[in-house]
Symmetry: C2
Subunit: 268 residues, 2 copies
């Protein structure tokens, strides 16, 4: 339970991470915790890696053997009234739920959101407990029959979806928007940028407009739970469905190195 | 206590209001609840005015006789995983704390924030539980020795502070930015706009730049707890300190009509 005066509940004043757990291993764990630590420093939230590590291990140990989604929530804790008030003791909550791995790699449709990303916004650049704009974008998409929202930034450039980073493919060339375009620095995005060469691709981190999604040979989105999901349609129009299964296989192979087993039936 | 899987804690998925309670009366109560109701409809959060009214009355009845700050927090509740997931039952939390009325009307200093308001952002236009951008702006201001942040919008126009709306004064003419500039529609702001004529002022709801704060005969900020606070300095430079005590007296008189007593010692 969380205190009613915890700033996580009162003000969305905190951070979170969601990790896929397979065979008792939280995938890309170091990268997730490094991202949270960096944001915690920026926001002045007490971060204790050992405390989080113990809690994560404890939750995983008590969980089942199947795939799970683990969530780490870290709020500033309880403080005096006042937005700038501080606390030495953050509130940590770690939870785990079964995860349906059949969602991994499923193609999806996007609908362009009315919400724009703002590069000066903390909630647009960090994985904070203040997620209402992503929620609103996701609800808009759902109301229009789409699986997720395409979120542009205030300059009309492509930023991301409500829960994933976005890439466009042209042959063996990938492009994804820079963080400065109002992008949350995703773990899977980072992994692809750093390892694309090993996967047979080159990556350009550059700005692009919505039109380029329609011209690309393929579009896909990435996150820590679903890896690579091809985008099959945007605002009701089909996109080119270039094959990105080679990328997915490479990512699943990396996951297998971490946990020692296939995550999905056909994982290589 | 709040469940660890409540969306208020997990995602800042909810709304709040803070009201000043004097002599057992929550001031501008109808206006606060109307604002929350309107935002709840926009966000699809279950809103039950009777349920909230009963909880508010109950908390006030049990509180002391002095001035109090009452907070109503309403989250979407507990749902399945997924940003667009819905709940029929919102979570309601009502709390009350003593309020130091000597803060009412105290002059304050502002420091311009790196955070910009974004008119397409839900968290910038509604009083949501996703408050991290205001927190960051307030922390920046505190680090620079100022009392609050001046927040511009993405076009460089003045929007508000981290906790208050802003007005500039030129003689008997007031100006305050329109909601479309990325402004949270404050209750005290609304009251002044609607009643300025009774107070001997006219009001223009229009965009303005930071420079106009330096040219104005007075600058003040408004919120439901502190009414009117003159701004004495901006980024370390003194502003003109025109007298706005007549406005403050008019607002305190309106508050007295509601609760039947003076809120501050020298309240008229």
């Amino acid at each position: 339970m969380i205190a009613e005066n915890d700033r996580g509940f009162l003000l969305g004043d905190g951070l979170f991470e969601t990790l896929l757990v397979a065979k008792g291993v939280a995938l890309w764990r170091i990268e997730h915790l490094a991202r949270m630590a960096k944001s915690a420093v920026k926001l002045g939230i007490a971060f204790d890696a050992d405390r989080i590590g113990v809690a994560v291990d404890d939750v995983i140990r008590k969980s089942g053997d199947g795939a799970q989604v683990l969530r780490i929530s870290l709020s500033r804790g309880v403080t005096e009234r006042g937005l700038a008030s501080d606390s030495d003791e953050s509130t940590l909550s770690v939870s785990i739920l079964p995860f349906d791995t059949s969602k991994i790699g499923q193609p999806l449709s996007l609908a362009t959101s009315s919400v724009r990303r703002n590069p000066s916004s903390i909630s647009d650049r960090h994985k904070t407990l203040s997620y209402i704009n992503n929620i609103h974008a996701a609800r808009e998409a759902k109301a229009r029959g789409a699986d997720d929202a395409l979120i542009l930034n205030i300059d009309g450039l492509v930023a991301s979806t409500s829960i994933a980073n976005i890439f466009i493919v042209t042959g063996k060339q990938l492009a994804t928007p820079p963080e400065g375009d109002g992008v949350l620095p995703g773990i899977m995005r980072k992994h692809i940028i750093e390892n694309a060469g090993n996967f047979g691709y080159s990556v350009s981190v550059r700005s692009f407009e919505r039109d380029e999604l329609q011209d690309a040979s393929a579009v896909f989105v990435t996150n820590s739970l679903r890896f690579v999901s091809p985008v099959r349609a945007l605002d009701g129009e089909n996109l080119q469905s270039g094959d990105v299964t080679d990328l997915m296989k490479a990512l699943l192979a990396d996951a297998k190195v971490q946990c020692g087993a296939n995550i999905v039936e056909n994982g290589s």
